[in-house]
Symmetry: C2
Subunit: 494 residues, 2 copies
């Protein structure tokens, strides 16, 4: 591990390689034998479980229930919503057969040509179509509304260029799908859920985000409006971290889902959908980590406190571990997760490096001198600082420290993010800032997809969002010079 | 709902239709547009979530961690373990293409013939192959062992005859996959995990089970030994409810997973796998429910207590609901889930029937006379009895009652199960008991697959297991008359 750690590429040298090295070496995930599909390793999955549990509680606290819909979607369902098929047909896994058979030439197994499906099935890239086909049978009257369902599931999009967590052929996510009697209710639901994502990103991932609307061309395939949370990574690129869509009546019309409203009239149902995925793992890793490894916000760290005994001989080890077990019991009573690492086959320096790599927020070391003096050595991962403190009252101190660390990681990310938002008024300045500094750029845009595409083609920057809190401000588009009424947020992105 | 309830087929009339009606009408699951795939509805999923949480804790308490492996398995992986491919190749979903395109004739979308995969991918029916291919890179030395991973996932087996929860093309499950340095350790792990399943079935599902070994022909494809828990349904058929496999070195050899043992020698790794699925939902429903609907053990009931106000007019309703909210707060403080149903568009009789159908363990009704007299009407679902009790101390009473109900449901199932185990000594008696009574039959068998198959073909009964606690007993096979040393457990099964 010490050797592996030394091999960790630095951020400055190659940000992209640093990220990939870190994901693999910290034991979060790795590529599998299946192109574009990852294995989420236990340490990475433990973080995802914490995200799952926190989000799931937030969904339930806002009145949602979980359900489960089929993995497969009949091909014909895709054609029913015109934009949707455009968006997803080009990158999907298609099931065509339901049986293998022995190769008559004796080389393993082959697909049985006699077992061809009548209609091909698509492995879900997202579930609007199968869900709205189901909701059709659930909804007759306004009394059946709203439906507030969420699903935790795997989905597949056949991405050609994949990166662990950020873009994989298969990923894990949740997808909320709600049905409402009125447009106002659906719009409010989409707004509410992007708010849940913002709160989750800020309070759990320690990740400041900008909330806004997507432009027409960046919108979800089938939505009337897409809200997004956009985060900034340390290399100055944006990462779309969650989206919430107001789907209008598009899917209700595609699947003929009508209901009798309070006035006794038939109307189409209004819809939203919203999701976050294992991509958040990528955001978490890229936003906070450093050249020593992961930096995990305590609220998502599988191990919050690790204890390393510094000892010579069995007897010393036993005395130190006895003290540690006392502290561990106190911490566990406070709901803090603890590991005592008493392995005897690796040196403590190796252990220190390993837990830095793994981003354990707090490290506590006790040696014979500490034992004699009633002290412990307390190290925090986020600042890489350590101090000798009294063993007395250590559990309370650690409890406060974990809160400090959570806050500090967020503050640091916020400070960086805010330092990376630049307002520009000319296209030259836009290009210069993008080139020299990166980050978010607030600029006037004439609102046309033509200008948006020109900027994208020339600079690779896209409109990340039209921030919801963007103040009205008269100006002129940096490209066309046409009038604009508010600045929009540009960046290069993942 | 009242009408729907009336329509519930009775168990005596048509057990199979009763089951299906119940699953659909209680809002647990329904068939989807995709052949053999079900939609798990919110009420059904809420029960599955409780199973998930309880099992997940039991896995973690026994030292396991979760991880996630790819949905897809390269076709060639299947050929590597000879028995495994035999067991799973005939019923699998095969992905052959990765793109759709617009139909040149304008009829929606078609599979793009230019986007054929080089090697077909199988949607996992179980993950031994992809996981052992991954473990190969994780294991070098005995210090890397044991690996104790579990995965919560969806799997697909292309069943031709499907039934909600019991046998579906896609289902949800967990699959544990462990790797060990010694045979003894792996055998012990397989044994330990079938014990976890037994405890879970008995303590959570209130379902008594018989633990035993599968016969050679009923063993998991690729296992050296399969342990099973077998439950008995009310129609006298057995349901295999969970299995734990000792895989020997079969997958290690198929995927060349060797390690350096403590003695410095190379050896193949020893393996287990174990799983339970949404099939347990079927077991839960079939084991306890009656002609009025579901009977849920309190520990798995999404709503443990429902309160129905009996009132005339707004004012009376408000007074009653105020009392109910007080009781609800006390119950919630004890961790008991409560729902107050104050809907004004359905009668209370309708509500009573609905919660009976949904199997809510305890129902509490309060009317004006209760209000005046300081009483409540307390009804229990398992016995369909009710009594008027003092409102004073009601929370404590309910807490105890829920424990009583959990115990009573188990005791009832155990009593039934025990009454349905018959020892027979001749094949004629075997056939007669099977015909007239059903249930489990303990009989002597000569240990040959020929006899096993003959019995299966003639009677449809199979060897459910060779019970682990079967005492040694000399006898003769009911078919061949050859010597036998212990009785094995036969039954017709799901």
């Amino acid at each position: 591990m010490a050797k592996e750690l030394k091999d960790l590429t630095s951020r400055e040298e190659d940000y992209s390689k640093w990220y990939n090295d870190l994901v693999v070496k910290a034991g979060l995930a790795e590529n599998s034998a299946v192109r574009g599909c990852m294995v989420i390793k236990p340490y990475g999955y433990a973080i995802w479980e914490k995200m799952h549990d926190a989000l799931d509680k937030m969904f339930k606290d806002t009145g949602h229930v979980n359900a489960y819909f089929p993995l497969f979607i009949p091909k014909s369902f895709f054609s029913k919503e015109a934009h949707h098929v455009e968006g997803f047909a080009k990158e999907c896994a298609v099931v065509t057969h339901y049986r293998l058979k022995n190769d008559p030439e004796g080389k393993g197994v082959i697909v049985d040509p006699d077992a061809r499906l009548e209609e091909e099935l698509i492995v879900r890239p997202t579930s609007e179509t199968i869900i709205w086909n189901t909701y059709k049978n659930w909804i007759q009257s306004y009394r059946d509304l709203p439906i507030l369902c969420n699903q935790w599931a795997n989905v597949v999009r056949w991405e050609m260029r994949t990166r662990l967590f950020l873009r994989t052929a298969e990923f894990l996510w949740q997808e909320g799908h709600t049905a409402h009697a009125t447009k106002e209710e659906a719009v409010e639901e989409a707004r509410k859920m992007i708010g849940v994502y913002r709160d989750f990103a800020e309070q759990w991932l320690a990740l400041p985000v900008i909330v806004g609307h997507k432009s027409d061309s960046e919108r979800f395939a089938g939505a009337d409006d897409t809200l997004t949370i956009e985060a900034l990574m340390q290399d100055g690129k944006a990462l779309q971290s969650g989206t919430s869509h107001f789907l209008g009546q598009n899917f209700a019309k595609a699947f003929d889902v009508q209901f009798t409203n309070k006035e006794g009239q038939l109307d189409y149902v209004w819809a939203t959908s919203w999701g976050v995925s294992t991509r958040l793992m990528g955001a978490l890793i890229m936003a906070h980590s450093d050249n020593n490894g992961l930096v995990l916000p305590p609220k998502l760290a599988p191990i919050q406190v690790v204890m390393v005994p510094i000892y010579k001989g069995e007897e010393e080890l036993r005395s130190i571990v006895a003290v540690m077990e006392g502290i561990a019991a106190e911490l566990k009573a406070k709901g803090i997760s603890v590991k005592i690492d008493d392995r005897d086959n690796v040196r403590s320096g190796f252990k220190f490096a390993e837990y830095e790599l793994k981003g354990v927020p707090v490290r506590l070391a006790i040696g014979p001198r500490d034992l004699a003096g009633g002290t412990v050595e307390l190290a925090r991962r986020d600042t890489l600082t350590k101090e000798s403190v009294p063993a007395e009252g250590i559990a309370d101190r650690i409890e406060n420290l974990l809160e400090d660390i959570q806050r500090n990681i967020y503050d640091k990310a916020l400070k960086f993010r805010d330092s990376m938002i630049t307002r520009v008024d000319t296209y030259d300045e836009f290009k210069r800032v993008l080139e020299e500094k990166g980050g978010f750029i607030l600029a006037h845009w004439d609102g046309t997809p033509q200008t948006e595409e020109l900027i994208k083609n020339e600079t690779k920057a896209t409109i990340r969002c039209i921030p919801v809190d963007a103040p009205a401000e008269e100006g002129t588009c940096i490209v066309s010079g046409k009038p604009s009424h508010r600045r929009v947020l540009f960046a290069k992105s993942y």
